[in-house]
Symmetry: C2
Subunit: 314 residues, 2 copies
């Protein structure tokens, strides 16, 4: 059983991660902090609350965090990927969100004390909230078991630019702060999330399930349509849930060298790139002395099947 | 028959390219311009002259070019890869180089007029000379059939930094000028050159050949030793000769989309990266409208065998 705080910008794939965290017997989901990213932070919080209620976990606190990047640049969202409402047009406009009176930083810090030493932070949006929490309390890492992020691309190309993955590109400065902090950090980036695919076959099995499965089927239609225009195939990366799965042992990694990651915070063409010392591509996978960042390059197949079983069977 | 000007920083793999160009019946090698890079430009010119004499082509003019990067930063060489003399310790110190009284830019411009419309420039070092020639005469591209460079990495990681290939990293500003110029440009980067390998088996066949083959065997020993430390295997990329082969049809490309390449000239961690719009990695290989740069991603296997036959049989 892993105690998990999810930092989300909910989002279609965030919804799958939240549902998986809420429904899995292996995971104790103790809070959701919300950041801007796929949608604005208020819509992200609405969606998070809606999805938790759908899973019967309306008691999990949902706290609103950053509305835009750390450096004050304008926030840019991804309606073409997730829909204007973040749930592919399926958000329940009648849902009255239950939100925590605490801010995202306050909730994160409180939970870090309540679950000191055992809390796993799984951050699947821009890392603005985590950087703000480190600003507020630099001792935070001492109480965190591990941080696992969905973000970046070590050898894979980007998805919002040639080189950059969306979550990192949205807030490179925050990402650099999070990589620099003295905690164990695992990066689950496009190298693996774009090989962990959700297809119409999965959707059919979800559609034949209960209310949660049918919800997933509906929101995934929009997501797969976006990916079809992007890759030519109706198959989407299972980004956020895969990061959760890596963090909690729902999937095993088969190649995840510990290397150093630097974030390109320049205004050059590689802005937002996670630059990694991964010379192993040309042969061995050396782990440079003093390196601290685990970069997941391969996982065992099969997690998507188990996730769909979980969501369809709920 | 392709009319070729080679721009070189001779280097072990440059030597193989020069010998292949000199010996192939498909290639008319009309000049070599020399740049700094693997070694300083004077040593590179000595090596170029020595190798041409070895091939019985001492009549090919060899012209000295740039001694360091376009922006005036200090020149950095690669003795660990090519040896202090650029030929793995095998340079003939008794060789008296025959050098052109023209500069590299002068020779390049003269040949562009003498072979207007048919001249193929194959540039396998930092692109400082080509950028200087464009400065001297912006009409140069009108007279060039095509420029083919060994350099860059589209999806592959770098070899001098996490992201950057050596030739581009040595002089990103010059590379950007060359990519911007209005000529057809083909990039043969690490994506293919690190899959076109020279091994000890090739060396054994070269050693059993004539004087040229034995010379190649000797210089490659140093090169393979370097690669062994780098990748764990005694196998080196056949970088420069592969660019020559692509340019002259000695090898066919099987995947070479036309995309846009931008060079990272920032001082960020991706300095020297060739940033390419290659979203095809995630599915289709779209060729963006107006794109001009052919990026070679796959070639037919077999060129190394033919090259070794040529060099061993000479």
């Amino acid at each position: 059983m892993t105690t998990v705080l999810l930092d989300v910008d909910t989002g279609i794939d965030d919804a799958l991660a939240i549902l998986t965290a809420a429904l899995s017997n292996e995971i104790d989901l103790v809070g959701c902090t919300v950041t801007w990213g796929n949608v604005d932070v208020e819509q992200g919080a609405r969606n998070t609350s809606e999805v938790l209620h759908l899973a019967g976990h309306g008691d999990v606190p949902v706290a609103i965090g950053a509305a835009g990047p750390r450096d004050g640049r304008p926030a840019v969202f991804s309606p073409e990927v997730h829909g204007a409402d973040g749930l592919g047009g399926c958000a329940d406009t009648a849902h009255v969100p239950a939100l925590s009176p605490e801010s995202a930083v306050e909730l994160m810090l409180r939970l870090s004390h309540e679950h000191a030493g055992s809390l796993e932070i799984v951050a699947v949006g821009p890392l603005t909230n985590l950087a703000a929490a480190l600003d507020a309390d630099p001792t935070l890492p001492e109480r965190i078991r591990q941080v696992t992020i969905m973000g970046g691309a070590a050898l894979a190309p980007g998805n919002v630019s040639e080189t950059a993955e969306a979550n990192i590109w949205h807030d490179p400065d925050a990402a650099q702060v999070v990589f620099d902090a003295p905690w164990e950090l695992t990066m689950v980036g496009l190298d693996v999330t774009m090989t962990s695919l959700i297809t119409d076959e999965h959707r059919a099995r979800l559609a034949a399930g209960g209310e949660i499965g049918r919800f997933c089927d509906r929101i995934l239609d929009f997501y797969l349509r976006y990916y079809e225009g992007y890759t030519g195939e109706r198959a989407s990366g299972n980004h956020d849930a895969l990061a959760l799965a890596v963090a909690t042992g729902l999937v095993r990694t088969t190649l995840s060298p510990i290397v150093d990651v630097r974030v390109d915070c320049s205004d050059g063409p590689a802005r937002g790139r996670t630059v990694t010392e991964l010379e192993g591509e040309w042969g061995q996978w050396p782990e440079p002395e003093g390196a601290r960042h685990r970069v997941v390059m391969e996982v065992e197949p099969g997690f998507e099947e188990r996730m769909v079983d979980l969501l369809a069977g709920a």
